[in-house]
């Protein structure tokens, strides 16, 4: 009997269950697809480096899965709450008919179970389909071929999804049972009569709160613009988060004040109705709206920044490296052996066997404080980068010209000549080169070694001197006349090489690495402190990119959907409560068109407010992140950020439309 009643109820209220069901199904699908990534990558032809980075990605996904599960659990509870509220009267009727609370709770649990099982099954099915497509995307991102097309099914991920969501349904069931057993019949029966409390705070209190909120937020923005985001992140949060909450707390009064200022406009058509509806809704949901706003902000930053960062990593990997391997030699060993290459030979690496050509040069720390001497010519982010990296003094690098020219020859760049009181410079991007040229064109001199050097404009080279990543270098390296570096502190000696011709680079790469790990076992005292090859760096940057993108999408979309669903449900339950108000409007003779327009206005504004505030937050947040990224890596990645934001617009838009049409349907009900 119980079962039958439950089944009939679900079928009867399919429309009500739709939001809940879709949300559940989507959650399961998403959860499964991301957690089945390990099964997906098993079918890919990954080399050792890529497999390691894939592992890194899987680990991160695993960590974030817990977050995602918690967010989804909250979401499901919330959606369930909406559903129950809509059916209070029905439950009250069961109780008045003399059905025990236990049995009513039983019906509800049965229904939850039924919907849960169907959603779980459907979600898993969709998840499995979705993960097939995801394998292709993953393979493409890892730049590998699928071994052969196989249907991927991860029983581990399926079981994990079933357990996680099973526990969630159990919570929902218990929650419902407790809810019913605690309710009074009279409340259930008359729940649709109860009115929201609409009287808010005094207007001036609201305005004060809004203004205070805006001030706090502006302080947070200021800290970000000043480029102090990283150092003052806790401070930025300390101002930004309470600021956002305050802003929303005062928003209803503030909006009302502004909207009702122009009486002619306010008393026109349904404007006053729309204003009052919105402000009372904002007033009663300001906390959750602020939360949604912050959630959207996190979404925008993760989606936006992750596409930005992954593009930056991509550009970094694709940057023009014209040699295959690099060694950071220990100065003492080089001195003992009488040269970098000789030290490697002594250690047991037959350099000629692997390399067609090599170059070596020593790198010193100069006594030029970049921050002090070039401050006016650097932008804020660059200056901040230096200040953050190396205490207050950040010294430029120094290389002797003759040695460095051997490196320039190796990579096919024109050599640099410097006169007695001249220096050249090596930087890694055009922006910096431009800054230096301006410095020199303005007639500035570089004070170093107790001398005054002119920066020779022909001596500026934009090249990558390191495979490790440009960020591992000082931002500027000056090329000194050979004799003038003697007084500087020697950092290390670089040996860079190009692999021999005739053999595929991958092969040379592998045999060199194999030899080195073998040598290391025999003799851990290596003459070099660092070794990287261009191929390794590329593979691991692919891994980093995939990880950042996937984690970004995983978290971002979860947060986004959570925020959108909560907004949608809030509006739908509002439409439910508003049915009577719209009926009154109709009796007063309001045209249906006018009513629809007022509904549309309300939903648009209600969806746009948190989105707009989050967008402004995100502009500053992403700006803060990107200025660092642009600094550390290469050029502009803003257009890639745009794609992340486009995804947000689409998903948010879908939820907006769904909300509008369902609300319209609800307020038409008798």
């Amino acid at each position: 009997m119980l079962c039958k009643l439950a089944f009939r109820n679900v079928r009867k209220s399919v429309g009500d269950y739709a939001v809940y069901f879709i949300t559940l199904m989507f959650a399961v699908m998403f959860f499964y697809a991301f957690n089945s990534l390990d099964a997906q990558q098993a079918i890919m032809d990954l080399n050792e480096n890529k497999a390691t980075s894939a592992q890194m990605m899987l680990e991160s996904i695993k960590v974030f899965s817990t977050f995602v599960a918690v967010a989804l659990a909250i979401l499901i509870l919330y959606a369930n709450n909406f559903l129950i509220k809509r059916r209070n009267k029905e439950l009250g009727i069961y109780l008045t008919l003399g059905m025990g609370k236990g049995r009513v709770a039983g019906i509800l649990m049965m229904e939850t179970l039924l919907v849960g099982i169907i959603a779980l099954a459907a979600g898993l099915f969709l998840g499995i389909l979705f993960s097939q497509g995801m394998s292709l995307i993953t393979a493409k991102m890892f730049e590998v071929q699928l071994k052969e097309y196989v249907f991927v099914f991860s029983s581990k991920a399926a079981i994990q999804s079933i357990i996680y969501f099973g526990v969630m349904f159990l919570c929902v069931m218990l929650f419902n049972a407790v809810r019913v057993s605690k309710q009074k019949i009279i409340k259930l029966l008359h729940s649709d009569v109860e009115n929201e409390k609409v009287i808010g705070k005094k207007t001036w209190v609201s305005i004060l709160m809004t203004v205070a909120g805006i001030v706090l937020i502006i302080v947070a923005y200021y800290l970000i613009i000043k480029g102090m985001m990283i150092m003052y992140l806790p401070l930025v949060m300390l101002f930004g988060i309470p600021g956002t909450f305050l802003l929303f707390a005062g928003l209803s009064g503030f909006v009302y004040k502004i909207a009702s200022r122009n009486k002619k406009k306010y008393y026109k058509g349904l404007n006053l109705f729309v204003t009052r509806q919105l402000t009372s809704k904002i007033n009663s949901t300001h906390t959750s709206m602020a939360l949604i706003c912050l959630m959207l902000f996190v979404t925008m930053v993760t989606l936006g920044a992750s596409s930005g960062v992954s593009a930056a990593v991509n550009k970094e990997a694709g940057r023009d490296i014209r040699f295959d391997a690099e060694y950071y030699m220990r100065p003492a060993e080089v001195e003992n052996a009488g040269g970098g290459v000789a030290a490697l030979e002594d250690y047991g690496i037959p350099v000629d066997k692997f390399f067609k050509e090599t170059a070596e040069y020593a790198r010193y720390d100069s006594d030029v404080d970049m921050l002090a001497d070039f401050a006016e010519y650097l932008d804020v982010a660059q200056a901040n980068e230096m200040a953050g990296n190396m205490d207050v003094h950040s010294f430029a690098g120094a290389v002797p010209v003759s040695q460095f020219n051997s490196f320039l020859r190796l990579i096919g760049e024109p050599e640099v000549t410097v006169g007695e009181n001249e220096v050249g410079a090596v930087v890694y991007n055009e922006k910096l080169a431009e800054n230096l040229e301006n410095f020199s064109n303005d007639g500035n001199k570089i004070h170093s070694n107790g001398k005054e050097y002119t920066l020779s404009p022909d001596g500026i080279r934009i090249v990558n001197t390191r495979i490790m990543g440009a960020a591992s270098n000082a931002m500027m390296i000056f090329i000194y006349p050979d004799a003038d570096v003697a007084g500087f502190e020697l950092r290390d000696v670089m040996v860079d090489g190009i692999y021999i011709d005739g053999v595929p680079k991958e092969e040379t790469d592998q045999s060199l690495q194999a030899l080195q790990s073998q040598l290391r076992e025999e003799n851990p005292e290596r003459p070099f402190s660092g070794f990287t090859t261009a191929l390794t760096s590329q593979d691991s940057s692919i891994g980093l990119r995939v990880t950042i993108s996937f984690v970004g999408i995983y978290l971002g979309i979860t947060f986004l959907v959570t925020a959108a669903v909560i907004l949608a449900l809030q509006q739908l339950s509002a439409a439910n409560d508003n049915k009577k108000r719209y009926a009154t409007l109709r009796k007063l003779g309001t045209e249906e068109k006018m009513i629809n327009r007022s509904l549309l206005k309300q939903i648009v504004i209600y969806f746009l407010i948190p989105l707009a505030i989050a967008a402004v937050h995100a502009i500053f947040g992403i700006q803060g992140l990107m200025s660092m990224i642009n600094m550390a890596w290469y050029e502009n990645v803003y257009q890639d950020v745009f794609w992340g934001l486009a995804i947000i617009a689409v998903i948010y838009g879908i939820y907006f439309l769904a909300t509008y049409f369902s609300s319209k349907k609800i307020i038409r009900e008798k």
Binding site: Y267, G269, N271, L272, S280, R586, L588, T590
Partner: protein, 263 residues
């Protein structure tokens, strides 16, 4: 039909052979059965009858919220039974004012805004809105509650705001459905005096459905409905309200049952 009024006044509302049948296929309920009557401009008509006599159905049909099965209802020479769906909203807006038992005020709006809304829907400008609310508020003595929200008002205050909302658009006909149903006796009396005021001072035509003989005694004429038919009618004429009340009680006891319970 009252000959006395017919000669002097022009007819505002004509109800002719109205039938309303609910249900279908062997399970028919005749809620209204060949109802005929006229209402003149400036009248304060009461409709009484026991539960299920068709009072509310009649009101709903006149107010275009419901449709008749057959027959015609004409308001100000417009046959509402022939109006197209698209014109109904406009008709309600221009010709009718509503007062409901449960007030139907919008709880997010202040009293002032609730009244103003009826005008903004009609496209009246702010200047006029201000003027009209000012004069109505004075007449109905609601100045002190204008800036309160419905949840801060008593039932009587709410209903007077609703009455102001109904009359502010200068409708041809004000329809009141059990307006005193949710009020205590003191508030009822105040509201009914307001109705009389609206009727006398603003020349509003009122049609009030009620259960309550006391409320009905404020009307100038009362139609009694039973089982969907007009049972009888009472005209106040030159009677005092007290005498009229006694007459109403007589008819009510004649009708028997429900209405008597409610007195």
């Amino acid at each position: 039909m009252s000959i006395y009024w017919e000669v002097k006044m022009e007819t505002l509302l004509k109800v002719r052979n109205v039938e309303k049948i609910y249900g279908g296929k062997g399970n028919l309920t005749k809620a209204l059965d060949d109802v005929n009557f006229d209402v003149n401009k400036g009248e304060f008509l009461g409709i009484m009858g026991p539960s299920g006599s068709g009072k509310t159905t009649l009101l709903n049909c006149i107010s275009t919220i419901d449709t008749v099965t057959s027959g015609h209802i004409t308001v100000n020479n417009t046959d509402v039974t022939m109006l197209k769906a698209g014109r109904l909203a406009e008709f309600r807006r221009r010709q009718l004012g509503f007062i409901f038992q449960d007030f139907n005020l919008l709880d997010t709006l202040s009293g002032y805004e609730n009244i103003a809304l009826a005008l903004t829907i009609c496209g009246v400008g702010y200047g006029q809105i201000k003027e009209r609310i000012k004069s109505i508020a004075k007449a109905l003595e609601i100045n002190d509650v204008l800036y309160k929200y419905p949840c801060e008002m008593s039932g009587g205050q709410k209903q007077r705001i609703a009455a102001a909302r109904a009359i502010i658009t200068n409708p041809s006909l004000i329809l009141a459905d059990e307006p005193t149903g949710a009020l205590d006796s003191k508030s009822s009396r105040m509201l009914l005096e307001n109705f009389t005021e609206m009727n006398k001072k603003f020349g509003a035509t009122l049609l009030m459905v009620t259960h309550d003989a006391f409320a009905a005694s404020y009307c100038s004429r009362i139609l009694f409905l039973r089982d969907g038919k007009i049972f009888t009618e009472l005209v106040r004429g030159v009677d005092s309200r007290k005498d009229f009340f006694s007459k109403i009680i007589e008819v009510v006891s004649l009708l028997g049952g429900d209405v008597a319970d409610a007195v």
